[in-house]
Subunit: 177 residues, 2 copies
Amino acid sequence: MEKQLSSKTIFEGNIIKVTHDEVELPDGSTAMRECVYHRGGVCILAVENGCILLIKQFRYPNRMDTLEIPAGKLEEGEDPNQACYREFEEETDRRAENMRFILKLYPTPGFCSEIDYLYEAENFKYVKDSLPQDDDEFLKLVKMPIDEAYAKVLDGTIFDAKTIIAIQYAYQKYHKD
Amino acid sequence: MEKQLSSKTIFEGNIIKVTHDEVELPDGSTAMRECVYHRGGVCILAVENGCILLIKQFRYPNRMDTLEIPAGKLEEGEDPNQACYREFEEETDRRAENMRFILKLYPTPGFCSEIDYLYEAENFKYVKDSLPQDDDEFLKLVKMPIDEAYAKVLDGTIFDAKTIIAIQYAYQKYHKD
């Protein structure tokens, strides 16, 4: 347990809020905590004819393309069970009849509050009148066989944490020896 | 691809650096990017008599205890292949003869540069003269059977992303139906 002694807000953006706090540790000493608050998100495992749906996109912090499962940030106060339908449709042009909750993950709990909720899309299909993508996203849909995706996790081609988790889950569920 | 037009450093702490950048998008329009830079870390899967070694610790951003595999941040410019030995010994009082690299993971590549390197500790054993823990960490070692850890991923008790990945990997490798 750490008790907050003071908190200074450093930055309030659209995606993150950053604070620099002083805390009291269990032994009575003090330490500083650099803290990023984030509203969290949803991410979706979708398997279509034995292939996982992935999104290729540019990610700025490391100046590189990534392959990630469809995902999106929660709006303020939004229910993940609702958001997952929207984000899935925006990024894949597919509409799901059902989303089955799999698990929640904290990407980096040491300094960041983000929580992501992982679902599996069930009974989904392509729709012509799908929701448009966000203005500042340039996305390309990639369909990859589960075994190939699993191999790409181990060879370093796929490295996004939520995507690794979803692929390991799919491999465990669908792979037949 | 996004081209940096300007960058403003908001905060430089011990753990993270935060910038607020303007970028040019592929269609020529512009957008703002909130960006967290982090030196990255190492994390270690260690299986001892069928149990995974986990660390119970308090994590400030969500004010809660977590169960995580042993892990630690890289020093500036440090080789992950070296750091993993130190962090493992500091957190578990065990010394490994070998560390086998498994994979790398980007916890949350949309806004943060962090990369974590996952290893499996091989031929490790308890040592009396182990490296001391960091001053501001209060850690408790927990040994958990692999099947139980896997169940706790699915029931939400274990939610740290790197730990989920390590447990899924261990379950795939060691679980016998």
